[in-house]
Symmetry: C2
Subunit: 329 residues, 2 copies
Amino acid sequence: MPLPGGQSGEIYILERLRKRFHSGADELIVGIGDDAALVKTGTEETLLTMDTLSEGIHFDLSYMTAYQVGFRLAVSNISDIHAMGGIPVWALLSVSISGGRIDGFLDEFLSGLDDALRRYSITLAGGDMTGSRGGITVTLALTGNRGENLARRSGARPGDRIFITGPPGEASLGHELIKRVGLPVRLETGETLDISIPFEKVEPLVRRFLLPELPPVPPGVNSMIDTSDGLMIDLWRLCRESRAGARIYEEALPLTEGMLMVSDAFGIDLMEHVFGGGEDFHLLFTGPEGMEGAFEIGEITEGESIFLVKKDESEEMIKPTGYVHFVSQ
Amino acid sequence: MPLPGGQSGEIYILERLRKRFHSGADELIVGIGDDAALVKTGTEETLLTMDTLSEGIHFDLSYMTAYQVGFRLAVSNISDIHAMGGIPVWALLSVSISGGRIDGFLDEFLSGLDDALRRYSITLAGGDMTGSRGGITVTLALTGNRGENLARRSGARPGDRIFITGPPGEASLGHELIKRVGLPVRLETGETLDISIPFEKVEPLVRRFLLPELPPVPPGVNSMIDTSDGLMIDLWRLCRESRAGARIYEEALPLTEGMLMVSDAFGIDLMEHVFGGGEDFHLLFTGPEGMEGAFEIGEITEGESIFLVKKDESEEMIKPTGYVHFVSQ
């Protein structure tokens, strides 16, 4: 399969990292290439993960509040621990920011971070604050306890059904909408948006982008990943680690009325966001038929290709698409 | 005491963080305000720390190599675990960089990071790679095992002697020198510098800045901190956490011939760098008289002020000075 993002893409860099830091350490149970690492700390097993949000790449304060940046930073990390079937416990925070911007950002940012951490009973144990000559960069690291069932990307087997905990593309459509509105919407203080579509239809999309709520962690899965970068690229990653392929049924994809309304009203290509839109922080997992609490959207197959079964029953091989983190300058 | 860096300074932010994230969690043994946090992970105790290097603030690729940035990132974190008397074990890395700069930076950066991590038997377990619209920002988090003796900033008691593992100000003078030369010096490949002072005299300063070697962790200390931001500010932090004061003897401060030569040749105020120069990554600790492997430079006192006893035996109260991380823009 082609490397998403080209030579500078994540997969290429992942390979470089894996090659360089390949370690025989017995204590490294799960290393680079899953949602979180699993390591031995003495007699215990601990999950470790780290995520960064970079201004101009992951957030834009012209249409997001600092509260929402903090909330999202926590959620994106917690989602990684959840995607391993684990329970997050400790957090470390690093903020790089120029001195002149601290007063307009820090307190509100910490408030959003704090609210999300409290929701999941996570304690901030330390971190670093440094200056920045460019935009704001925030990084959170989390440790987690291993849950009863470790959920890896590599556990999918042909015949497994594929599930997702919510409609893919909601956050991405919400993002598009907010960008077009061009102003922050303070959902955290009950603010709404005055547009041509009823707000209650649009609100789940905007909320999924600005203040995403994480789904409960499903028990008994064979493999799992969170959809942080987009349905197809995250499915591709899961298949790649499992050395398997997949078939997705277009008809089975859960779409909401709000998604249809927004794409319609703003002339946005709906399916592009359904397949390629990131930041939903839903869980994509595989397991036996009939698992509850999620939408069954396809099945794991032999081979290493992903096919989309369209509504007319024709099949189309699809390339992984999703959010590409690197921006050439 | 005044807050270094003013309202936007680290201490002020530390207070905001402490206040907001003050936690009653029994499992948080040491929280915000020490070199590293100490937390319970199941039945084990684990040290956690995180440090960020930001381009234009902590490094400048016009006179540092990417290798040196990677090496320093590792060392600055390892030093924090050492300053708690601990043993670093696992690392998480985050790199924010624009796509167009990956090829000129990443491999060499990883090489320097890797060399430093290997030296201390640390394994990179995972992390994140993201784009950047500004400069390069790199963050490393480390977990560590608690050593036999936990060394906190808060353990200093009046009567303790104050020790430092090497000459304060070397790195800072090395930094000044390299800035004036204005070109990278690839010490990692044996490159030397052709200047008016014999290179063997200057080399320890340049090396302390570009490729710092960490001192062995002294056993049996009462309190400890690493000198990442400067002798006086780091001593002030240690005193603050211990609710004590200090007396430092100017005469006892270890200065090298190279330091004198560089300050002389380039018209640099030597003592400004000795007192305020950061990035040495030496260990500053307190304990009983006569501890080995370090220079005894003063003693812990009652009260909360720091005095410098000058060579003429006069005493001067000194304000904490050191590297201020925040830059107004």
